[in-house]
Symmetry: C2
Subunit: 409 residues, 2 copies
Amino acid sequence: MSYVIPADRGEAEALDSHDLLGHARELFDLPDGKTYLVGHSLGPATHSALDELERTASGHWRNELVKAWNSAGWFDLPRTVGASLARLIGARQDEVIIADSVSINLFKLAAAARSIARTPALIVEEDEFPTDQYIIEALSKLSGRDFVRAKSGDGLAHLERSGGVLVLSAVNYRSGEIRNMAGAEGVAHSSGGVIVWDLSHATGVTDVNLQEAGARLATGCTYKYLNGGPGAPSFLYVRADTISRLESPLPGWMGHEKPFAFEPVYAPASGIQRFASGTPPILSLAALSGALEVFESIDMSLVHDKARALGELVIARADALGLEVASPRDGRRRGGHVSLRHPNGYEIVQALIHRGILADFREPDTIRFGLSPLFLRFTDVWDALDALADILATRAWDDPAFRQRSKVT
Amino acid sequence: MSYVIPADRGEAEALDSHDLLGHARELFDLPDGKTYLVGHSLGPATHSALDELERTASGHWRNELVKAWNSAGWFDLPRTVGASLARLIGARQDEVIIADSVSINLFKLAAAARSIARTPALIVEEDEFPTDQYIIEALSKLSGRDFVRAKSGDGLAHLERSGGVLVLSAVNYRSGEIRNMAGAEGVAHSSGGVIVWDLSHATGVTDVNLQEAGARLATGCTYKYLNGGPGAPSFLYVRADTISRLESPLPGWMGHEKPFAFEPVYAPASGIQRFASGTPPILSLAALSGALEVFESIDMSLVHDKARALGELVIARADALGLEVASPRDGRRRGGHVSLRHPNGYEIVQALIHRGILADFREPDTIRFGLSPLFLRFTDVWDALDALADILATRAWDDPAFRQRSKVT
């Protein structure tokens, strides 16, 4: 690993001053006086994202109007932005498109996957992100196929038996646990089954490599560690040798071979474009396009190393505070966030927010610290843990103001 | 009708000076020296759309980060923006949500509609917008149900026979012809069938009224006459008494009764929110939210009247030029655009663009003039027709530079 774990604030400062990723923080447009540990939920604004948004809205849209579909490259944006994202997940540039949401893309991929799986059975584990479960169950209802909601960790065993289609997260949204992707793909391969990967919590913070893992299908968020902006459209990956074997179950005009021939019968585009459906939200895509510029010269293995080191710092200090750690202790098995448990987790998160330290809470008792390596410093995390220690020592969380619930923290 | 058809430029000027909608033009941020007749494809920027986008990106996202989901009302935005759109289509505020694209929403509605239709047959006419055909045919493939691609105008006869689900545009994308919605709903009612309306070319330019028509299900574009921005997310309408009877086939976490309880089994939200799927593209939604402010005090029947009058002006002058009119001559049957046909339509549109008059072209020979009543003046349209007359008289279109094709015009 390229980073060590600081034992005191001085060591944290020293690490920051030599951090090979340290320059990236300047590319973010962070509000003053905040420590932002929620990059795993919504990444912060970058200068390049805000600039590209402004250029697209007040420049291209305002001035070039409908011509901007050609002149500003809007028509190609789902693929050009997909191409710039590809390296970050170990994909080829022509294997990725930006389109719709993770929910919609899971539906597309799981439905399409059944044409290459040995059986059309659909499997998802009970602790996957809820959307993944809802969408797959709904697909099974619509198409009248078997659906299995497997116990946590049992998905691969079901895949092995059925040779069907399994939706699996590369990093669990709650615990931050990393899956062994290559191992899972081995099971898929030998059983004739297919895995649809949800990379939402892996992308931009781990060195996930789809090619090395032998992965065929994947989708994921762009508004978390990729900082694409609130609700930025999702990405969809299909391995090059598989694209032409699949048809989208949601074939909109933008996925047609000749969208402007306005033909009544659908003919899929030859490449990854066939997974587009309707007209993409260009303003949201523009912000994402700008946000990805931050990653241009970044070594993702270094990003993952730093995420691990920040995570180990959190775990070491949480241990000292007697907090239960709900994430894997082994850095090789942990993504970009660390989950801690405390019966008063909700109030503790509110008390942290009150001190300018933004973290998030997941029912019933989980405090999540998102450790985005591109803008967080070791000292930021050190100081956040100091604040946590103080909140626990003084019971500062025990304040009626911190008990009021809001929809999202 | 509140408007007359000007017989010369002086009369056009007089109409403009007394136009009750004349003030709305100031709300648009139009580029200098252009006449924009493509509002039926991509509406232009308004000051309020650009302002709201800036406020959302550089204000809420940048400063409030993930807290903006609550503090800036992002979580409710699909419904609050839907509520402000509702009046423009004659719907109740709690019957409309902004979500996904028209393609995706057609899929949701057509799939869901089968639980209230007498039979699950799916019908679409061969001259509907291609996406509508692709999506409905794909739904039928996925669910193993009958699919009928009806001849143009035969959709209702099929609906009457089958009692199935028919997708129908309120205004045809090519000709601009308006459907008799109430008449069609009468057929649906008596046959036990259900119509899913595509309002893409009707919304913001006609006084379409879903309640009066007895319509139960509809979706449509927001980036055309509503000026929501390129690829702005679509709206979805379900009549209040029907919402609880339908389930979305694409149930993402945002459509769950308690999205932040993270329950493994889907339970639909009680209202229109159940038709949400994944996380919405907030930046694109923000621009749409701002764009709709322009319509706040606007009488839609006046908008429709002005669109008709502008259309009649185009038709009268096209007749004088000997051009074939491919749109209905009867203003009551015509939406917001007028289509003219000419074997050299493509080159003619390029020649118009060269003179700063933006129109669009649809294969093989159709010139479309989009007549957005909120920013176009009678003199703008008068002068555009003068330019068209000159281009035809001088054969200015017959220039090699105008033959080069681009993807979108």
